[in-house]
Amino acid sequence: MAVFKGTPRESWGEYLVNLPSMFVRSIFRHNYPNNDVDRSEVIFKNFFLHFHPVKCHKHSLDPFYTLGLGAITTSLFLILTFTGVILMFYYIPTEDRAYEIMKDWQDTTPFAMMYRNMHRWSAHMMVLFVFLHMSRVFYTGSYKGTRRFNWVIGVILMFLTLVLSFTGYLLPWDQLAFWAITVGTNIAGYVPNLPGFEYNINRVMLLASTNVGQDALIRFYVLHVAFLPLLTGTLIGVHFWRIRKDGGLSRPPDKIRPDPLRVVQRSDTKESFAPGVKRTYGLMELVRGTCPTVDKGPYNFVFTWPHLLRAELVAFLFTLVLILGLSLIDAPLEEPANPSKPTNPSKAPWYFLGLQEMVAYNAFWGGVAIPLGIVLGLMAIPYLDRNPHGSGYWFHRSRYLAIFLYTLFMTWQALLIVIGTYFRGANWGWVWPWTENFARH
């Protein structure tokens, strides 16, 4: 009778033959994903991929549903992180050096302008794509049901993106930077002060002084390179995690309801298990019914490797090509900061021109109350919209009022930006764009 005596010890020859594959397996905890088991393991045993689901719904891969906007925004954040860290190797946050370094980059440091341009245009694009992504989520009703709070996190991320952009364009310490700090911190000064403080605490917390100078620059620098990116990165992680936990991207209910009693489902792959896998059982889940569907994957779900990863790669490469193309245009740099006189007109970058236009009517209402109302109002949308229908459909007909109101709001903001960009001239006076060219940013 054959008795199992344990596996024989391998010889040195066998060991050396197996060494390369053993070494690779010591790094990767999965084999090459050419079968379904390893297509699963590559996702959930790999640190960098494990925030993906092993399988995702075909609908989530439809490029005309998501338009890839979230993936593009994430790609921009990654590009911004990389180029930002690169720029930190040279940048010094002092009043007398910062602008000099910006100028030096133009002709002393190879590729410095490429990285600075990429960083600047990625920031502009990230603001744009955050708003496009938010609009996609609104128009497809994807903030409903369990996804309510993820919308709130998204609004916080939108706010952080804007603050990151603001703190970022202060760092070159040109005219734009100096007067943006002046105006921005004076807006903070319209927030009511705490009792007992001689100077408005909101303003002093930003400036470390009562006037704009070196102390303010280092604060905005620390906010821009450490505090805000960490906060944003963490919240992006929570945002993704909530997508997983809330059941993936929103989608309409399946047209063919899976029926566990009749095995009618089709897996997207021919094999349910890889050949050679001996142990194919394990307690996965307790399900109701008498005949759970065995050997079949969930209806309409496909493996993340390669389908979702390929889609993400396409989105990333699209973003990279876009940003590399834009980096051929030099990022704006105005005259060095002149604390005695702003340029005329002094215009913020385009995404703040709506705010600047509102502030030009009233500092408190346009700079504090209405922006705060907008952010809180956006956060409240999932809790105000009681219509349960339309999640997963673009422009669902039952949501005509919500869609109308949101479009009205976005049109109003876009109109303010267009007015601020093209219809405002010297001393913020009204001019017609075809009579004079003054679009500065």
């Binding site: 002046t182 105006v183 605490i201 009562t210 102390d215 006189k341 702003p342 500092a363 001393n427 913020w428």
Partner: protein, 170 residues
């Protein structure tokens, strides 16, 4: 029963009570620690970010010898102190150039002053006439210092454009 479930049945009798005396007291203790640490962190950050000593430029500054100042005629912008120095018939008055709206430096225009950032307008006395500016541009107290220079004190302000005149020769 919910339509879709992803967890097992839980027997309602098999649950701990939502709150007991023991867990209530424990929660209070843990809560007090968290609130205490949060309050201490917040208070220390508030103090840390609001320094006791700040680099505030002195409120009194010189604008020059009387004969130099009086040699000018009309309204001049002084970039260093961000003020307008107006001289007429041996008298001088000094007005701020910082917009009362959000702190940009205003420009001299035919009708008075105009702000390049948000379009506030003032008349030639500094009264806010349009745009978002909430307050008029103030005049500063002018006096002759011990050195004989004409000095300006930013901490003493007035809105009376006649009382703002100072005559160094008188």
């Amino acid at each position: 029963m919910p339509k879709h479930r992803n967890s097992l049945n839980v027997d309602p009798e098999n649950q701990d009570p939502l709150i007991s005396r023991r867990s209530f007291l424990a929660l209070m203790g843990v809560g007090a620690c968290i609130v205490g640490v949060g309050a201490l962190t917040g208070a220390s950050m508030l103090g840390f970010l609001y320094p006791n000593a700040m680099k505030i430029p002195p409120s009194v500054f010189s604008i020059g010898r009387p004969e130099e100042v009086l040699a000018m005629d009309g309204k001049m912008f002084s970039p260093k102190q961000k003020v307008f120095i107006e001289t007429k018939e041996g008298k001088v008055r000094v007005q701020t150039a910082v917009c009362t709206h959000l702190g940009c430096t205003v420009n001299l225009v035919e009708t008075g002053y105009a702000c390049p950032c948000h379009g506030s307008t003032y008349d030639r006395y500094g009264r806010n006439t349009g745009g978002p500016a909430p307050l008029p541009l103030v005049y500063f107290h002018v006096f002759k210092g011990a050195s004989g220079d004409i000095m300006v004190d930013k901490s003493k302000t007035t809105l009376d454009w006649n009382a703002a005149w100072y005559s160094p020769t008188a």
